[in-house]
Symmetry: C2
Subunit: 279 residues, 2 copies
């Protein structure tokens, strides 16, 4: 099968690598606007050749749209206009906007909206990893709006990547990822800024940073070109979670201010409930 990957970064590159290794893709065509990324993707063997967007779509059976979600919204209608029997899928972290955008498109059935739940704080083709998606979840949204053969192909792709599939509507997906992904990035960015602000006064502060700090702050390395559009598109859900999170932080603040350590212990005991989820 000929596969085009539009956006040869962390996600697109990692997919290309694994799909080639698994024999799912015999030939991978890359599309990218960044000359450095193109050179690196060819050097690393993530893609077999580079083509302009239109030619690449025409030459392939499956098109994977792996660009930031704002660019995905620009490209999706253009690509759908060009699609015949092709299957087109995206991998973005927000789903409702993109789905609403092409809901009435006559080729809607050729599109499968999906979101593989894997990523790192790094970006670009150098960050691509073979086997990255193994044992993670992939979400397919509004699957009834996709043609059965298109859906089946995308399901086979995710199984080839070693992922287990979840199905949900785009609206629920966007609420859930606000809780289990987007807010983690905002807290990490804000924590980095809190500590960097203090560092201006105190050089020595990071000599003490240990594993716990690194764990909660590493997402703050994430690329704004990817995350600003996600926050824009999922603004309402993220604001709900952010308000709740600030309210939860204020409970800790109030416990300290009032020296209410019994309630502090209760708050921490409740947070320990996360052990049910994270083994």
């Amino acid at each position: 099968m000929k596969v085009t990957v539009i956006g040869i970064g962390l996600i697109g590159g990692s997919m290309a690598l694994t799909l080639k290794e698994q024999g799912f893709a015999e030939h991978v065509i890359g599309v990218d606007t960044n000359p450095d990324h193109i050179a690196k993707a060819l050097e690393l063997g993530l893609v077999d050749e580079i083509m302009p967007l239109e030619q690449a779509v025409d030459a392939s059976d499956l098109v994977i749209l792996a660009v930031p979600v704002n660019i995905a919204e620009q490209l999706l209608p253009v690509i759908l206009d060009r699609v015949q029997k092709h299957v087109l899928m995206d991998v973005g972290s927000t789903k409702e906007g993109v789905i609403n955008l092409i809901a009435q498109h006559q080729k809607r059935g050729r599109f499968v909206a999906s979101h593989p739940m894997w990523g790192t704080e790094y970006s670009g083709p150098s960050a691509a990893i073979s086997g990255a998606f193994t044992d993670k979840a992939a979400v397919i949204c509004n699957q009834d709006d996709s043609d059965p053969d298109a859906l089946a192909l995308v399901e086979k792709l995710y199984e080839t990547l070693g992922m287990h599939l979840l199905y949900m509507n785009a609206k629920d997906h966007d609420v859930h990822v606000a809780y289990v992904s987007h807010i983690s990035h905002i807290t990490s960015f804000a924590l980095a800024n809190t500590v960097l602000e203090k560092e201006k006064e105190e050089d020595a502060i990071f000599e003490l940073a240990s594993g716990g700090f690194e764990s909660t702050v590493r997402l703050a390395k994430s690329n704004p070109a990817m995350w600003v559009p996600i926050f824009m598109q999922n603004k309402e859900n993220i604001l709900d979670v952010l308000n709740e999170h600030i309210a939860q932080l204020r409970k800790f603040k109030s416990c300290l201010e009032k020296e209410n350590y019994a309630y502090l212990e209760e708050l921490i005991g409740n947070a320990n409930g996360i052990k049910r989820i994270l083994k």
Copy 2:
């Protein structure tokens, strides 16, 4: 050398294990009030024998106090009263309270206040790990108040554990750890509570949790018996950091509410500055 470890948990147990393996400690005596922890520590070979506190102190050259910081404050004066030529060290996450408490004690010089910058979200002797401290930083506070031979022994201990040493006064230490350790735990606890609150309505939410979520929330598994006393003792510093962190989160909130995405990008770009610190 005979070493007594009071509190055979994550830190005390990991120290005992490595100090025995490295030949620093020929014999390790354990002191603990928890019968399950005693049985487990003996079973895992973390300690050679168990004794009551007074006997253990009398029988050893070096005493490591590795209990929660509130218990450390109770035990420290009691042990110092009993000390002759022994060296006594603590390993707690707050330093000013404990140092002020015994500042005028006639045996003050036998005590070395220290803080090895390593830990995990797990606790108890089963969580102990050999070689855990390698390449991490250990802080020694107010070193001029310790006798030279006591200081030298504790320095040798941390070098045996493979740690590099930092020296600072207790006040600075407590400010720094509020930024690079304590606030990370509060944000993690609060994030866990934020998401667990939502989970009451939405069963499926955690099926989507990926590595980023786990990274920012794993500290929420941490033991309240250890952390409530730390938050109590470092209350003022933590409140300063928590207020700053809530202010930073409000900036993200304001960007979303006002759709000021240029400033949002600036905030994230600034947070990316953490790359200078975390490689």
